[in-house]
Symmetry: none
Subunit: 416 residues, 2 copies
């Protein structure tokens, strides 16, 4: 079974607004065994909406229309779907009465155009809207013309969600074949998407019953989404786990998450497990590393703090890097990265200290030390590991790459 | 002229990913006088992509395909657009050589599947990709079959934006009818969207020839987008400036940007203008304030650095806050915020020092000091100003609100 989601409203075609209901619907439909094949966003124009509806009914088993159910002249969904199906609209007195009562309860008089919200397509079930004024509609077609499930849902997300959960899901469960779906999300650190794809491809070949998607996350993260469909929940889980295990064998410790966790969560998990604490001294990442670490609730248990040392004087003042070392090797150097990690660790009295120094650009690069060159250091009091990397991309991407590299070094140290 | 934007990739039909490129493109196309009439999101399936392309070419003057230009078997955009147009694909040796050189520069050997990225539709201009490996394509059809402008652009936003700006906009300007459009974007700090809307509405009434949109940005920022279309560039500019001036009178110094600048840019601009320097000491924002400030290229001229002081011991160690002060008033207090600002200013020898301490949640709140309570302090060596706020929302939003409040305090101090 496949679905098309149609989001209606001229505002959704501007730079300022975006449909988000389709993300919720895609997740719930997947759990019911329905795959979204198309999403279409269309404005409040009669001809555009009718042509969109016609195309969708020709290529999808389930078609969901979102929005355009209000009382104004712009709200054309009811008329356009009826016209596409060749059915009539009938005004339901019960809905109009409910609307009038709803207005009266607020002490308002209902404007006449609100009566349009009582127009129902012949053969449709009315879906009551407990959180707003526009009712939805549910149509099941199963006759000589074909087979389709059509829903008309209101645009406000809290109205749509409640209506879908309470009134559409029960109807879909009786109409759709019973399906069992299991999903996994693996995440791989610091390997390029095309290299991951190349290494994963032969493994996928032995698991053709699993749907797979490869996806680049933030710099330094590649995601593998796996999804299996089977006759029982256990069988779906077994299949998806079998592929996940084969991928884990191939990618080994470059896999940092096997159920969609973020790198920050994983680093926090390992720090907590080892009862270790962490401090950071950042130059080119300018606080991004600390910001990522502290975005995790409860991070105060293992992250004590750190320094942002943009100016060289602060590398000495806050992280204890000898001025002579900077003078001798330059601020962007392996030696200074190591001294930052060791200095902040000592200053903050933590198990681990991280130092980052590099050139995020766009200015400040030289032939010897180009934009994108970053030194990452991790000190544990006995050893200090330094990783030199040359990253590509703009200032934001270089900073993101560098923070990911540092997080991955912490992860590997704690796993080891 | 109307456009259809087609975003390609099965991941865009999942609950995990959403096309955002279309927002940027809709904005830029509007400036060129092209209105987006449809957006379609389609997966990596040959038949679906061809049918989508065919429908789009039948209803839009400008069709933009986003994504599916990579090296993997899932990347079908080139083949499917060529098939829809009835044109051939030719492998360009120059592109393949460039790709090989790109890999070699990183010390990698190029996998053979990357050569597919050199396939070009007959008659297309190749759009070089300086930020990634997948080149784009630009096709202008103007013959007996009809008239259309077709673009194939890469999915990663930074690649798409640069390619569109540098290579598509100049081509579109020569092909599209000349339009005169002027736009302004005002940004207002620390006032709610509905209050801004209420105060702006009567002003809009005197400028009905201007298209206006109100939009909530990151927490603490409301944007007013103004757009005028006229018979000459001067007239369009005059009209949009007249409304901007009226809004500036109403909102006075709560407007921090009048041409869409970010708060971080404005703060950097004022710091540079006053030859002032800045240091930060952050607790609950965990580095977010420093990260925002240093996201601006050239920020090393005025931002020297700072401390992230999650643990109380570091509030003393790195920012010189007396331990007794923390014991007496608690870490989340007006007194400690002030001491953080003063301490980090002294330690870093800067013109201004900022201190932030609060409770970002979800845990750690109490009746007396609830989640969302944040103290922000700004010290200049003579005075220390402290602002207490209670923010609403989740951990991320509270941190964003707090960083915006601190930046706005710096801005107001430097404006004064």
């Amino acid at each position: 079974m496949n679905a098309e989601i149609i989001a209606i409203g001229s505002e959704l075609l501007t730079p300022y607004r975006q449909d988000t209901n389709s993300l919720f619907l895609a997740g719930r439909l997947a759990q019911l065994g329905v795959e979204v094949s198309f999403k279409t966003i269309v404005g409040d124009r009669h001809a555009d909406l009718v042509s969109t509806a016609r195309t969708a009914l020709g290529r999808a088993d389930v078609v969901i229309f979102i929005g355009g159910l209000g009382p104004t002249e712009d709200d054309l969904t009811r008329e356009c779907v009826a016209e596409t199906l060749g059915r009539k609209l009938q005004r339901h007195a019960r809905i109009v009465e409910d609307l009038r009562a709803r207005f009266a309860a607020r002490g308002w008089k209902m404007a006449e155009n609100n009566e349009r919200q009582g127009d129902v397509i012949t053969g449709a079930d009315v879906l009551d809207n407990k959180r707003g004024s526009a009712p939805g509609q549910f149509i099941h077609i199963d006759d000589e013309h074909g087979n389709a499930i059509i829903m008309l849902l209101p645009g406000p997300p809290h109205e749509l969600r409640a209506m879908f959960e309470e009134q559409c899901v029960p109807r879909l469960q009786t109409l759709l074949p019973r399906q069992f779906i299991a999903a996994r999300e693996l995440k791989i650190a610091m390997i390029g998407e095309s290299m991951v794809d190349k290494r994963a491809a032969p493994i996928y070949k032995a698991h053709t019953d699993i749907e797979t998607t490869i996806l680049a996350g933030t710099p330094g993260e590649v995601q593998l989404h796996l999804r299996a469909c089977a006759g029982s929940a256990e069988e779906a889980q077994r299949r998806v786990d079998a592929l996940a295990t084969a991928l884990e064998d191939e990618f080994d410790d470059t896999i940092f998450a096997s159920h969609g966790e973020t790198m920050e969560q994983i680093v926090g998990y390992f720090l907590g497990m080892r009862s270790a604490t962490l401090a950071t001294a950042e130059s080119c990442t300018g606080g991004l590393l600390a910001e990522r670490i502290t975005s995790v609730p409860g991070s105060s248990r293992y992250f004590l703090g750190g320094a942002v040392v943009y100016d060289n004087s602060l590398k000495s003042e806050l992280a204890g890097v000898p001025g002579l070392l900077i003078a001798e090797h330059g601020a962007v150097s392996s030696q200074v990265a190591a001294a930052l990690a060791e200095g902040i660790r000592t200053r903050c009295k933590t198990t681990l200290g991280v130092g980052i120094t590099g050139i995020a650009g766009p200015a400040g690069g030289s032939e010897e030390k180009p934009v994108g060159l970053v030194f990452h250091a991790l000190a544990d009091g006995t050893n200090t590991e330094v990783v030199e990397r040359k990253f590509f991309g703009d200032r934001d991407r270089i900073r993101e790459w560098a923070s990911q590299q540092a997080l991955d070094m912490i992860r590997r140290k704690l796993m080891g």
